[in-house]
Protein backbone atom coordinates (compact mmCIF):
# COMPACT_ATOMS: atom_id res chain seq x y z
CA UNK A 1 0.00 0.00 0.00
CA UNK A 2 1.31 3.44 -0.84
CA UNK A 3 1.72 5.77 2.07
CA UNK A 4 -0.60 8.78 2.31
CA UNK A 5 2.36 11.05 2.82
CA UNK A 6 5.97 10.13 2.37
CA UNK A 7 8.91 12.33 3.29
CA UNK A 8 12.33 11.29 2.10
CA UNK A 9 15.34 13.23 3.31
CA UNK A 10 13.26 16.37 3.72
CA UNK A 11 15.31 19.36 4.86
CA UNK A 12 14.17 22.93 5.27
CA UNK A 13 16.56 25.80 5.89
CA UNK A 14 15.67 29.42 6.55
CA UNK A 15 18.98 31.14 5.91
CA UNK A 16 21.27 29.59 8.54
CA UNK A 17 18.46 28.07 10.57
CA UNK A 18 17.87 24.39 9.87
CA UNK A 19 14.19 24.12 10.75
CA UNK A 20 13.82 20.53 9.55
CA UNK A 21 16.81 18.24 9.22
CA UNK A 22 16.74 15.34 6.75
CA UNK A 23 13.51 13.70 7.88
CA UNK A 24 12.33 10.33 6.61
CA UNK A 25 8.73 9.59 7.42
CA UNK A 26 5.78 7.67 6.02
CA UNK A 27 2.24 8.38 7.15
CA UNK A 28 -0.22 5.61 6.32
CA UNK A 29 -3.63 6.08 4.81
CA UNK A 30 -6.34 6.42 7.44
CA UNK A 31 -4.12 6.77 10.47
CA UNK A 32 -4.20 9.33 13.22
CA UNK A 33 -0.64 10.52 13.21
CA UNK A 34 0.69 12.95 15.82
CA UNK A 35 3.80 15.06 15.55
CA UNK A 36 5.11 15.92 18.95
CA UNK A 37 7.99 18.04 20.11
CA UNK A 38 8.99 21.14 22.03
CA UNK A 39 8.44 24.64 20.69
CA UNK A 40 10.56 25.49 17.65
CA UNK A 41 11.41 21.87 16.80
CA UNK A 42 10.04 22.14 13.26
CA UNK A 43 6.54 20.67 13.54
CA UNK A 44 4.78 23.55 11.83
CA UNK A 45 7.44 23.75 9.15
CA UNK A 46 7.00 20.04 8.35
CA UNK A 47 3.24 20.44 8.16
CA UNK A 48 3.57 23.51 5.94
CA UNK A 49 5.77 21.59 3.53
CA UNK A 50 3.15 18.85 3.26
CA UNK A 51 0.50 21.52 2.63
CA UNK A 52 2.69 23.28 0.07
CA UNK A 53 2.90 26.54 2.00
CA UNK A 54 6.67 26.10 2.24
CA UNK A 55 8.87 24.18 -0.12
CA UNK A 56 11.61 21.82 1.06
CA UNK A 57 15.21 22.90 0.56
CA UNK A 58 16.13 19.28 -0.09
CA UNK A 59 14.46 15.92 -0.32
CA UNK A 60 11.44 14.36 -1.87
CA UNK A 61 7.82 14.59 -0.74
CA UNK A 62 5.10 12.32 -2.05
CA UNK A 63 1.37 12.34 -1.45
CA UNK A 64 -0.21 9.00 -2.38
CA UNK A 65 2.80 8.22 -4.48
CA UNK A 66 2.84 11.48 -6.45
CA UNK A 67 5.84 13.72 -6.09
CA UNK A 68 4.56 17.12 -4.92
CA UNK A 69 7.83 18.84 -4.01
CA UNK A 70 7.04 22.28 -5.43
CA UNK A 71 3.37 21.93 -6.29
CA UNK A 72 1.42 24.95 -5.00
CA UNK A 73 -1.03 24.35 -2.12
CA UNK A 74 -4.13 24.65 -4.30
CA UNK A 75 -3.00 21.64 -6.34
CA UNK A 76 -2.62 19.24 -3.40
CA UNK A 77 -5.30 16.89 -2.06
CA UNK A 78 -4.67 18.00 1.51
CA UNK A 79 -6.30 20.63 3.69
CA UNK A 80 -5.11 22.42 6.79
CA UNK A 81 -6.67 23.48 10.05
CA UNK A 82 -4.50 26.39 11.07
CA UNK A 83 -3.32 27.02 14.60
CA UNK A 84 -4.98 30.45 14.56
CA UNK A 85 -7.96 29.07 12.57
CA UNK A 86 -7.46 31.77 9.88
CA UNK A 87 -11.18 32.05 9.18
CA UNK A 88 -12.05 34.72 6.61
CA UNK A 89 -13.36 37.57 8.76
CA UNK A 90 -15.48 39.11 6.01
CA UNK A 91 -17.45 35.93 5.30
CA UNK A 92 -20.08 34.20 7.37
CA UNK A 93 -19.75 30.61 8.51
CA UNK A 94 -21.46 29.16 5.46
CA UNK A 95 -19.31 31.08 2.98
CA UNK A 96 -16.18 30.21 4.93
CA UNK A 97 -17.00 26.52 4.76
CA UNK A 98 -18.12 26.66 1.12
CA UNK A 99 -14.96 28.49 0.03
CA UNK A 100 -12.91 25.43 -0.93
CA UNK A 101 -15.73 23.85 -2.94
CA UNK A 102 -16.44 27.13 -4.74
CA UNK A 103 -12.79 27.46 -5.66
CA UNK A 104 -12.88 23.94 -7.08
CA UNK A 105 -15.64 25.09 -9.39
CA UNK A 106 -18.74 23.72 -7.69
CA UNK A 107 -21.95 25.64 -8.21
CA UNK A 108 -23.11 27.86 -5.41
CA UNK A 109 -26.05 25.63 -4.52
CA UNK A 110 -24.04 22.39 -4.55
CA UNK A 111 -21.30 23.96 -2.47
CA UNK A 112 -23.86 25.25 0.02
CA UNK A 113 -25.59 21.90 0.35
CA UNK A 114 -22.34 20.10 1.18
CA UNK A 115 -21.31 22.91 3.50
CA UNK A 116 -24.51 22.69 5.49
CA UNK A 117 -23.80 18.99 5.97
CA UNK A 118 -20.24 19.68 7.09
CA UNK A 119 -21.48 22.30 9.52
CA UNK A 120 -23.85 19.72 10.94
CA UNK A 121 -21.01 17.24 11.20
CA UNK A 122 -19.13 19.58 13.54
CA UNK A 123 -22.36 20.28 15.44
CA UNK A 124 -22.80 23.91 14.49
CA UNK A 125 -26.13 23.53 12.69
CA UNK A 126 -28.08 26.79 12.73
CA UNK A 127 -25.00 29.00 12.91
CA UNK A 128 -24.49 29.28 9.15
CA UNK A 129 -25.16 33.02 9.03
CA UNK A 130 -22.89 33.99 11.92
CA UNK A 131 -19.69 35.92 11.33
CA UNK A 132 -16.50 34.39 12.78
CA UNK A 133 -16.15 37.32 15.17
CA UNK A 134 -19.46 36.37 16.74
CA UNK A 135 -18.29 32.91 17.78
CA UNK A 136 -16.36 31.47 20.69
CA UNK A 137 -12.89 29.99 20.24
CA UNK A 138 -14.23 26.45 20.29
CA UNK A 139 -16.88 27.25 17.71
CA UNK A 140 -14.36 28.95 15.45
CA UNK A 141 -12.22 25.87 15.76
CA UNK A 142 -15.12 23.73 14.54
CA UNK A 143 -15.73 26.06 11.62
CA UNK A 144 -12.08 25.72 10.64
CA UNK A 145 -12.48 21.96 10.86
CA UNK A 146 -15.63 21.96 8.74
CA UNK A 147 -14.02 24.29 6.21
CA UNK A 148 -11.22 21.77 5.71
CA UNK A 149 -13.27 18.56 5.93
CA UNK A 150 -15.94 19.65 3.46
CA UNK A 151 -13.36 19.24 0.68
CA UNK A 152 -12.95 15.56 1.55
CA UNK A 153 -9.16 15.83 1.67
CA UNK A 154 -7.16 12.63 1.51
CA UNK A 155 -5.02 13.99 4.32
CA UNK A 156 -6.05 16.52 6.93
CA UNK A 157 -3.29 18.57 8.53
CA UNK A 158 -3.99 20.05 11.95
CA UNK A 159 -1.55 22.48 13.55
CA UNK A 160 -2.18 22.51 17.28
CA UNK A 161 -5.89 22.86 16.65
CA UNK A 162 -6.75 22.66 20.32
CA UNK A 163 -3.99 24.89 21.61
CA UNK A 164 -6.21 27.89 22.29
CA UNK A 165 -8.97 26.03 24.09
CA UNK A 166 -9.45 25.57 27.82
CA UNK A 167 -8.96 22.15 29.35
CA UNK A 168 -12.56 20.99 29.37
CA UNK A 169 -13.32 22.05 25.82
CA UNK A 170 -10.01 20.62 24.78
CA UNK A 171 -10.88 17.19 26.10
CA UNK A 172 -14.28 17.37 24.49
CA UNK A 173 -12.75 18.29 21.13
CA UNK A 174 -10.14 15.56 21.43
CA UNK A 175 -12.90 12.98 21.56
CA UNK A 176 -14.73 14.62 18.72
CA UNK A 177 -11.68 14.81 16.47
CA UNK A 178 -10.96 11.15 17.06
CA UNK A 179 -14.58 10.25 16.29
CA UNK A 180 -14.51 12.29 13.06
CA UNK A 181 -11.26 10.73 11.97
CA UNK A 182 -12.59 7.23 12.49
CA UNK A 183 -15.86 8.06 10.76
CA UNK A 184 -14.18 9.58 7.72
CA UNK A 185 -11.26 7.19 7.60
CA UNK A 186 -8.81 9.80 6.29
CA UNK A 187 -5.34 10.39 7.67
CA UNK A 188 -5.05 13.12 10.26
CA UNK A 189 -1.62 14.62 10.78
CA UNK A 190 -1.92 16.29 14.11
CA UNK A 191 0.71 18.65 15.48
CA UNK A 192 0.84 19.19 19.20
CA UNK A 193 3.28 19.84 21.97
CA UNK A 194 0.98 18.24 24.51
CA UNK A 195 2.29 14.72 25.03
CA UNK A 196 -0.81 13.51 26.83
CA UNK A 197 -2.96 14.60 23.91
CA UNK A 198 -0.66 12.78 21.51
CA UNK A 199 -0.65 9.61 23.60
CA UNK A 200 -4.41 9.38 24.00
CA UNK A 201 -5.44 10.22 20.45
CA UNK A 202 -2.88 8.82 18.05
CA UNK A 203 -2.30 5.60 16.22
CA UNK A 204 1.33 6.60 15.84
CA UNK A 205 3.48 9.42 17.12
CA UNK A 206 6.57 11.09 15.71
CA UNK A 207 8.77 12.79 18.27
CA UNK A 208 10.88 15.67 17.00
CA UNK A 209 13.55 17.85 18.52
CA UNK A 210 15.58 20.62 16.93
CA UNK A 211 14.51 19.72 13.44
CA UNK A 212 15.34 16.06 13.81
CA UNK A 213 13.01 13.11 13.91
CA UNK A 214 13.91 11.10 17.00
CA UNK A 215 11.38 8.30 17.03
CA UNK A 216 8.25 7.13 15.29
CA UNK A 217 6.01 4.55 16.89
CA UNK A 218 2.77 3.68 18.59
CA UNK A 219 2.03 5.52 21.83
CA UNK A 220 2.90 2.35 23.72
CA UNK A 221 6.19 1.93 21.88
CA UNK A 222 7.20 5.45 22.59
CA UNK A 223 6.23 5.39 26.23
CA UNK A 224 7.62 1.94 27.01
CA UNK A 225 10.65 1.92 24.78
CA UNK A 226 11.83 5.48 24.19
CA UNK A 227 14.64 5.64 21.68
CA UNK A 228 16.80 7.99 23.70
CA UNK A 229 17.15 10.21 26.72
CA UNK A 230 15.20 13.08 25.15
CA UNK A 231 12.19 10.97 24.21
CA UNK A 232 12.13 9.26 27.59
CA UNK A 233 12.16 12.61 29.34
CA UNK A 234 9.74 14.35 26.98
CA UNK A 235 7.03 11.68 26.93
CA UNK A 236 5.54 11.34 30.37
CA UNK A 237 7.55 11.71 33.54
CA UNK A 238 10.64 9.75 34.27
CA UNK A 239 13.70 9.50 36.51
CA UNK A 240 16.92 9.23 34.55
CA UNK A 241 19.52 7.42 36.65
CA UNK A 242 22.89 8.10 35.03
CA UNK A 243 25.36 5.27 34.64
CA UNK A 244 27.50 3.18 32.25
CA UNK A 245 26.83 -0.12 30.55
CA UNK A 246 28.70 -2.95 32.23
CA UNK A 247 27.34 -5.83 30.22
CA UNK A 248 24.19 -6.63 28.28
CA UNK A 249 22.14 -6.96 31.45
CA UNK A 250 23.86 -4.70 33.99
CA UNK A 251 24.29 -0.94 34.34
CA UNK A 252 26.68 0.58 36.84
CA UNK A 253 25.01 3.66 38.31
CA UNK A 254 26.80 6.92 39.12
CA UNK A 255 27.09 6.00 42.82
CA UNK A 256 28.71 2.69 41.99
CA UNK A 257 25.62 0.55 42.55
CA UNK A 258 25.00 -2.15 39.95
CA UNK A 259 21.45 -2.61 38.74
CA UNK A 260 19.95 -5.17 36.46
CA UNK A 261 18.91 -3.55 33.18
CA UNK A 262 18.95 -4.95 29.68
CA UNK A 263 20.49 -2.95 26.87
CA UNK A 264 22.10 -3.57 23.52
CA UNK A 265 24.53 -0.67 23.96
CA UNK A 266 28.28 -1.25 23.83
CA UNK A 267 30.05 -1.90 27.11
CA UNK A 268 31.25 1.37 28.66
CA UNK A 269 28.65 3.57 26.96
CA UNK A 270 27.28 6.21 29.26
CA UNK A 271 23.54 5.74 29.50
CA UNK A 272 20.61 6.51 31.73
CA UNK A 273 18.24 4.05 33.31
CA UNK A 274 14.75 5.40 32.83
CA UNK A 275 12.55 4.66 35.82
CA UNK A 276 8.97 5.90 35.55
CA UNK A 277 7.60 7.23 38.89
CA UNK A 278 4.63 4.87 38.77
CA UNK A 279 6.93 1.86 38.37
CA UNK A 280 9.10 2.76 41.33
CA UNK A 281 8.17 1.76 44.85
CA UNK A 282 9.22 2.95 48.21
CA UNK A 283 9.97 0.86 51.30
CA UNK A 284 11.73 1.16 54.63
CA UNK A 285 15.49 0.83 54.24
CA UNK A 286 16.77 -2.70 54.58
CA UNK A 287 13.40 -4.29 53.84
CA UNK A 288 14.19 -4.78 50.16
CA UNK A 289 16.21 -7.76 49.06
CA UNK A 290 16.96 -9.27 45.66
CA UNK A 291 15.14 -6.58 43.71
CA UNK A 292 17.12 -3.66 42.29
CA UNK A 293 17.02 -0.69 44.65
CA UNK A 294 18.75 2.54 45.63
CA UNK A 295 18.82 4.11 49.08
CA UNK A 296 17.82 7.65 49.97
CA UNK A 297 15.87 9.93 52.25
CA UNK A 298 12.31 11.18 51.74
CA UNK A 299 12.49 14.88 50.92
CA UNK A 300 8.82 15.66 50.67
CA UNK A 301 5.51 14.15 49.68
CA UNK A 302 2.72 15.57 47.53
CA UNK A 303 -0.79 14.29 48.07
CA UNK A 304 -2.72 13.96 44.79
CA UNK A 305 -5.88 12.26 46.04
CA UNK A 306 -5.57 9.12 43.98
CA UNK A 307 -1.83 8.87 44.62
CA UNK A 308 1.08 10.18 46.65
CA UNK A 309 4.21 11.44 44.95
CA UNK A 310 7.36 11.18 47.03
CA UNK A 311 10.56 13.02 46.20
CA UNK A 312 13.44 10.96 47.46
CA UNK A 313 16.93 12.44 47.80
CA UNK A 314 19.69 10.03 46.80
CA UNK A 315 23.37 10.80 47.27
CA UNK A 316 23.70 12.11 43.74
CA UNK A 317 20.21 13.02 42.52
CA UNK A 318 16.56 13.10 43.39
CA UNK A 319 13.95 10.64 42.17
CA UNK A 320 10.19 10.76 42.08
CA UNK A 321 8.07 7.84 43.20
CA UNK A 322 4.34 7.62 42.68
CA UNK A 323 2.44 5.30 45.01
CA UNK A 324 -1.20 4.59 44.30
CA UNK A 325 -3.42 5.58 47.20
CA UNK A 326 -4.50 2.08 48.19
CA UNK A 327 -6.04 1.33 51.55
CA UNK A 328 -3.33 0.36 53.98
CA UNK A 329 -0.58 1.91 51.87
CA UNK A 330 2.44 2.60 54.02
CA UNK A 331 3.21 6.27 54.71
CA UNK A 332 6.76 7.64 54.69
CA UNK A 333 7.37 10.90 56.52
CA UNK A 334 9.90 13.39 55.16
CA UNK A 335 13.32 12.66 56.62
CA UNK A 336 12.81 8.90 56.77
CA UNK A 337 15.59 6.80 55.23
CA UNK A 338 14.01 4.64 52.56
CA UNK A 339 14.82 2.38 49.63
CA UNK A 340 13.46 3.00 46.19
CA UNK A 341 12.98 -0.32 44.41
CA UNK A 342 11.55 -1.64 41.19
CA UNK A 343 10.98 -4.81 39.24
CA UNK A 344 13.89 -5.71 36.96
CA UNK A 345 11.68 -5.44 33.86
CA UNK A 346 10.33 -2.00 34.82
CA UNK A 347 13.27 0.06 33.63
CA UNK A 348 14.49 0.94 30.17
CA UNK A 349 18.01 1.95 29.26
CA UNK A 350 18.42 5.01 27.04
CA UNK A 351 21.46 6.62 25.48
CA UNK A 352 22.10 10.00 23.90
CA UNK A 353 21.39 8.78 20.41
Amino acid sequence: MTAAVELMGITKRFGDVVAVDAIDLAIEDGEFFAMLGPSGCGKTTTLRMIAGLDFPTEGSLKIFGDEVGTLPPNKRPVNTVFQSYALFPHMNVLDNVAFGLRMQGLSKSAARASSVEAIELVQLAGMEARMPSQMSGGQQQRVALARALVNKPKVLLLDEPLGALDLKLRQEMQGELKRLQQELGVSFVFVTHDQEEALTMSDRIAVMNQGELLQVGTPEDIYEHPANRFVADFIGQTNLLEGTVEDSSTVCLANGARVQARSDKAVGTSVAVSLRPERAHIAAQGSVDERPAVDGVVDHMTYLGNARVYRVRLDWMEVEVREENRPGAELHEPGTPVSVWWDPGAVWVVGDE
Binding site: A51, G52, L53, P72, P73, N74, V78, N79, T80, F82, S84, A86, L87, F88, P89, H90, F99, G100, M103, Q104, M131, P132, S133, R147, A148, N151
Partner: protein, 283 residues
Amino acid sequence: MTDSVRTQTSQRVLGLHAVFVYVFFYAPILILVVFSFSGDRLVGRWGGFTFDWYGEFLDNEQLTAFHDGAIWTSLKVAAVSTVIAVVLGTLAALSLERFRFRGQRVFDALLYLPIIIPDVTMGIMMLIFFSEAITFADTYLGFEFAKGLKTVVISHIAFNISFVSVVVRARLAGMDSRLEEAAMDLYATRWQTFAHVTFPQILPGVLGGALLALTLSLDDVVVTQFAAGPGATTLPVFVFSLIRRGVTPMINAVSVVMLVASLLLIALMLLADGLRSVADKSS
Protein backbone atom coordinates in the same frame (compact mmCIF):
# COMPACT_ATOMS: atom_id res chain seq x y z
CA MET B 1 -7.39 68.06 48.75
CA THR B 2 -4.55 69.70 46.85
CA ASP B 3 -4.87 66.94 44.32
CA SER B 4 -8.44 67.78 43.53
CA VAL B 5 -7.54 71.48 43.34
CA ARG B 6 -4.81 70.57 40.93
CA THR B 7 -7.13 68.52 38.76
CA GLN B 8 -9.65 71.34 38.81
CA THR B 9 -7.05 73.84 37.67
CA SER B 10 -5.70 71.59 34.99
CA GLN B 11 -9.21 70.91 33.80
CA ARG B 12 -9.87 74.62 33.54
CA VAL B 13 -6.66 75.17 31.61
CA LEU B 14 -7.51 72.31 29.29
CA GLY B 15 -11.00 73.73 28.78
CA LEU B 16 -9.60 77.14 27.94
CA HIS B 17 -7.17 75.53 25.56
CA ALA B 18 -10.03 73.79 23.80
CA VAL B 19 -11.90 77.07 23.45
CA PHE B 20 -8.85 78.72 21.88
CA VAL B 21 -8.37 75.85 19.48
CA TYR B 22 -11.97 76.03 18.38
CA VAL B 23 -11.82 79.80 17.95
CA PHE B 24 -8.68 79.58 15.83
CA PHE B 25 -10.10 76.74 13.77
CA TYR B 26 -13.59 77.88 13.22
CA ALA B 27 -13.62 81.69 13.45
CA PRO B 28 -11.94 82.10 10.05
CA ILE B 29 -14.37 79.64 8.53
CA LEU B 30 -17.30 81.43 10.08
CA ILE B 31 -16.06 84.81 8.85
CA LEU B 32 -15.54 83.41 5.38
CA VAL B 33 -19.06 82.04 5.22
CA VAL B 34 -20.66 85.16 6.68
CA PHE B 35 -18.91 87.56 4.29
CA SER B 36 -19.75 85.43 1.28
CA PHE B 37 -23.24 86.75 1.83
CA SER B 38 -22.18 90.39 2.32
CA GLY B 39 -23.36 93.03 -0.14
CA ASP B 40 -20.26 95.20 0.09
CA ARG B 41 -17.53 95.02 -2.57
CA LEU B 42 -14.86 95.15 0.08
CA VAL B 43 -14.08 91.85 1.69
CA GLY B 44 -14.56 92.22 5.42
CA ARG B 45 -17.13 95.02 5.42
CA TRP B 46 -20.73 94.02 6.00
CA GLY B 47 -23.08 95.44 3.37
CA GLY B 48 -26.36 93.64 3.89
CA PHE B 49 -27.35 90.09 3.00
CA THR B 50 -27.10 89.04 -0.62
CA PHE B 51 -26.67 86.00 -2.85
CA ASP B 52 -25.00 88.17 -5.53
CA TRP B 53 -21.56 86.64 -5.16
CA TYR B 54 -22.89 83.17 -5.63
CA GLY B 55 -24.70 84.41 -8.71
CA GLU B 56 -21.53 85.97 -10.04
CA PHE B 57 -19.69 82.76 -9.31
CA LEU B 58 -22.22 80.71 -11.23
CA ASP B 59 -22.16 83.15 -14.14
CA ASN B 60 -18.39 83.16 -14.35
CA GLU B 61 -17.58 81.23 -17.50
CA GLN B 62 -13.98 80.65 -16.53
CA LEU B 63 -15.17 78.84 -13.45
CA THR B 64 -18.27 76.96 -14.38
CA ALA B 65 -18.16 76.46 -18.14
CA PHE B 66 -18.83 72.84 -18.98
CA HIS B 67 -15.62 71.03 -20.03
CA ASP B 68 -13.07 73.80 -19.70
CA GLY B 69 -14.21 75.76 -16.66
CA ALA B 70 -11.90 75.56 -13.64
CA ILE B 71 -14.35 73.45 -11.68
CA TRP B 72 -14.64 70.87 -14.43
CA THR B 73 -10.92 70.86 -14.98
CA SER B 74 -10.37 70.20 -11.29
CA LEU B 75 -12.89 67.40 -11.19
CA LYS B 76 -11.51 65.74 -14.32
CA VAL B 77 -7.93 65.95 -13.08
CA ALA B 78 -8.91 64.66 -9.64
CA ALA B 79 -10.97 61.77 -10.96
CA VAL B 80 -8.46 60.53 -13.52
CA SER B 81 -5.39 60.97 -11.33
CA THR B 82 -7.12 59.30 -8.38
CA VAL B 83 -8.17 56.23 -10.32
CA ILE B 84 -4.72 55.73 -11.82
CA ALA B 85 -2.91 56.51 -8.55
CA VAL B 86 -5.11 54.08 -6.63
CA VAL B 87 -4.37 51.25 -9.04
CA LEU B 88 -0.63 51.92 -9.19
CA GLY B 89 -0.35 52.74 -5.47
CA THR B 90 -2.17 49.57 -4.45
CA LEU B 91 0.06 47.50 -6.73
CA ALA B 92 3.14 49.16 -5.24
CA ALA B 93 1.88 48.43 -1.73
CA LEU B 94 1.21 44.79 -2.62
CA SER B 95 4.62 44.33 -4.16
CA LEU B 96 6.34 45.80 -1.12
CA GLU B 97 4.35 43.86 1.45
CA ARG B 98 3.91 40.50 -0.23
CA PHE B 99 6.98 39.95 -2.37
CA ARG B 100 10.72 40.06 -2.02
CA PHE B 101 12.64 41.42 -4.96
CA ARG B 102 15.94 42.97 -5.87
CA GLY B 103 16.13 46.68 -5.10
CA GLN B 104 13.11 46.54 -2.86
CA ARG B 105 14.66 48.73 -0.16
CA VAL B 106 15.51 51.44 -2.65
CA PHE B 107 12.08 51.32 -4.21
CA ASP B 108 10.56 51.51 -0.74
CA ALA B 109 12.56 54.60 0.19
CA LEU B 110 11.95 56.33 -3.16
CA LEU B 111 8.23 55.78 -2.83
CA TYR B 112 8.15 58.08 0.19
CA LEU B 113 9.98 60.90 -1.59
CA PRO B 114 6.95 62.76 -2.96
CA ILE B 115 5.51 62.87 0.56
CA ILE B 116 8.54 64.48 2.14
CA ILE B 117 9.93 66.78 -0.53
CA PRO B 118 8.41 70.29 -0.57
CA ASP B 119 5.71 71.03 -3.12
CA VAL B 120 7.79 73.75 -4.70
CA THR B 121 10.65 71.34 -5.35
CA MET B 122 8.22 68.81 -6.74
CA GLY B 123 6.73 71.53 -8.96
CA ILE B 124 10.09 72.64 -10.30
CA MET B 125 11.05 69.00 -10.93
CA MET B 126 7.87 68.57 -12.92
CA LEU B 127 8.49 71.76 -14.84
CA ILE B 128 11.98 70.71 -15.88
CA PHE B 129 10.92 67.14 -16.53
CA PHE B 130 8.08 68.13 -18.82
CA SER B 131 10.09 70.65 -20.77
CA GLU B 132 12.82 68.06 -21.31
CA ALA B 133 10.25 65.44 -22.22
CA ILE B 134 8.58 67.77 -24.67
CA THR B 135 11.87 68.56 -26.37
CA PHE B 136 12.78 64.90 -26.46
CA ALA B 137 9.46 63.84 -27.91
CA ASP B 138 9.70 66.58 -30.46
CA THR B 139 13.24 65.98 -31.68
CA TYR B 140 13.66 62.22 -31.35
CA LEU B 141 10.25 60.62 -31.37
CA GLY B 142 8.71 62.92 -33.91
CA PHE B 143 5.50 63.74 -32.12
CA GLU B 144 4.40 66.86 -30.38
CA PHE B 145 2.86 67.25 -27.04
CA ALA B 146 2.50 70.33 -24.94
CA LYS B 147 1.90 71.16 -21.35
CA GLY B 148 -1.77 71.00 -20.59
CA LEU B 149 -4.28 68.88 -18.80
CA LYS B 150 -2.25 65.70 -19.33
CA THR B 151 0.82 67.05 -17.62
CA VAL B 152 -1.25 68.17 -14.63
CA VAL B 153 -2.79 64.71 -14.38
CA ILE B 154 0.63 63.06 -14.59
CA SER B 155 2.04 65.28 -11.86
CA HIS B 156 -0.93 64.55 -9.59
CA ILE B 157 -0.56 60.83 -10.18
CA ALA B 158 3.10 61.17 -9.28
CA PHE B 159 2.48 62.44 -5.79
CA ASN B 160 -0.74 60.54 -5.17
CA ILE B 161 0.81 57.12 -5.75
CA SER B 162 2.91 57.64 -2.65
CA PHE B 163 0.00 58.59 -0.43
CA VAL B 164 -2.19 55.76 -1.66
CA SER B 165 0.52 53.16 -1.23
CA VAL B 166 1.31 54.32 2.29
CA VAL B 167 -2.34 54.02 3.34
CA VAL B 168 -2.86 50.67 1.62
CA ARG B 169 0.37 49.29 3.01
CA ALA B 170 -0.63 50.10 6.56
CA ARG B 171 -3.79 48.11 5.99
CA LEU B 172 -1.93 45.21 4.36
CA ALA B 173 0.61 45.08 7.16
CA GLY B 174 -2.23 44.74 9.64
CA MET B 175 -3.77 41.88 7.71
CA ASP B 176 -3.07 38.30 8.74
CA SER B 177 -1.16 36.77 5.84
CA ARG B 178 -2.31 33.35 7.00
CA LEU B 179 -5.70 34.23 5.54
CA GLU B 180 -4.08 34.16 2.13
CA GLU B 181 -2.39 30.87 2.91
CA ALA B 182 -5.70 29.43 4.04
CA ALA B 183 -7.29 30.50 0.76
CA MET B 184 -4.54 28.86 -1.29
CA ASP B 185 -4.82 25.74 0.85
CA LEU B 186 -8.53 25.76 -0.07
CA TYR B 187 -7.75 25.52 -3.77
CA ALA B 188 -7.80 29.23 -4.64
CA THR B 189 -5.34 30.36 -7.29
CA ARG B 190 -3.23 33.43 -6.64
CA TRP B 191 -5.69 35.60 -8.46
CA GLN B 192 -8.72 34.11 -6.68
CA THR B 193 -6.94 34.60 -3.38
CA PHE B 194 -6.47 38.26 -4.19
CA ALA B 195 -10.03 38.75 -5.40
CA HIS B 196 -11.83 36.89 -2.60
CA VAL B 197 -9.58 37.42 0.40
CA THR B 198 -6.86 40.05 0.04
CA PHE B 199 -8.86 42.71 -1.73
CA PRO B 200 -11.92 42.62 0.57
CA GLN B 201 -9.54 42.85 3.50
CA ILE B 202 -7.66 45.89 2.19
CA LEU B 203 -10.70 47.58 0.64
CA PRO B 204 -11.13 50.12 3.45
CA GLY B 205 -7.49 51.11 2.99
CA VAL B 206 -7.95 51.44 -0.76
CA LEU B 207 -11.03 53.61 -0.26
CA GLY B 208 -9.24 55.74 2.31
CA GLY B 209 -6.32 56.14 -0.06
CA ALA B 210 -8.65 57.11 -2.88
CA LEU B 211 -10.35 59.80 -0.83
CA LEU B 212 -6.99 61.12 0.30
CA ALA B 213 -5.80 61.24 -3.31
CA LEU B 214 -9.00 62.98 -4.38
CA THR B 215 -8.62 65.64 -1.70
CA LEU B 216 -4.95 66.21 -2.39
CA SER B 217 -5.59 66.54 -6.10
CA LEU B 218 -8.49 68.96 -5.63
CA ASP B 219 -6.38 71.05 -3.22
CA ASP B 220 -3.12 71.29 -5.02
CA VAL B 221 -1.93 74.70 -6.22
CA VAL B 222 1.84 74.62 -6.24
CA VAL B 223 2.65 71.53 -8.28
CA THR B 224 -0.27 72.18 -10.60
CA GLN B 225 0.91 75.69 -11.37
CA PHE B 226 4.29 74.40 -12.50
CA ALA B 227 2.88 71.50 -14.49
CA ALA B 228 -0.09 73.25 -16.06
CA GLY B 229 -0.19 74.72 -19.51
CA PRO B 230 -2.80 76.88 -21.19
CA GLY B 231 -6.34 75.61 -20.80
CA ALA B 232 -5.53 73.64 -17.71
CA THR B 233 -6.49 75.93 -14.88
CA THR B 234 -7.81 74.04 -11.88
CA LEU B 235 -10.09 75.60 -9.30
CA PRO B 236 -7.49 76.32 -6.60
CA VAL B 237 -5.11 77.76 -9.20
CA PHE B 238 -7.90 79.99 -10.51
CA VAL B 239 -8.74 81.22 -7.01
CA PHE B 240 -5.09 81.96 -6.45
CA SER B 241 -4.93 84.03 -9.61
CA LEU B 242 -8.11 85.92 -8.63
CA ILE B 243 -6.45 87.05 -5.43
CA ARG B 244 -3.57 88.51 -7.39
CA ARG B 245 -5.98 90.51 -9.48
CA GLY B 246 -7.77 91.94 -6.48
CA VAL B 247 -10.04 90.34 -4.02
CA THR B 248 -13.81 90.44 -4.34
CA PRO B 249 -16.26 88.60 -2.11
CA MET B 250 -16.83 86.20 -4.99
CA ILE B 251 -13.68 84.52 -3.73
CA ASN B 252 -15.53 83.96 -0.49
CA ALA B 253 -18.36 82.32 -2.36
CA VAL B 254 -15.95 80.10 -4.31
CA SER B 255 -14.16 79.20 -1.11
CA VAL B 256 -17.38 78.30 0.65
CA VAL B 257 -18.28 75.97 -2.20
CA MET B 258 -14.84 74.35 -1.97
CA LEU B 259 -15.23 74.12 1.78
CA VAL B 260 -18.55 72.33 1.48
CA ALA B 261 -17.08 69.95 -1.06
CA SER B 262 -14.17 69.20 1.28
CA LEU B 263 -16.54 68.59 4.16
CA LEU B 264 -18.43 66.12 2.02
CA LEU B 265 -15.18 64.33 1.25
CA ILE B 266 -14.29 64.23 4.93
CA ALA B 267 -17.71 62.79 5.69
CA LEU B 268 -17.03 60.10 3.09
CA MET B 269 -13.65 59.40 4.66
CA LEU B 270 -15.24 58.98 8.07
CA LEU B 271 -17.67 56.58 6.49
CA ALA B 272 -14.80 54.58 5.03
CA ASP B 273 -13.19 54.66 8.46
CA GLY B 274 -16.37 53.28 9.91
CA LEU B 275 -16.25 50.47 7.38
CA ARG B 276 -12.66 49.82 8.31
CA SER B 277 -13.42 49.49 11.99
CA VAL B 278 -16.30 47.17 11.18
CA ALA B 279 -13.89 45.03 9.16
CA ASP B 280 -11.38 45.18 12.02
CA LYS B 281 -13.93 44.12 14.57
CA SER B 282 -14.74 41.10 12.49
CA SER B 283 -11.08 40.09 12.12
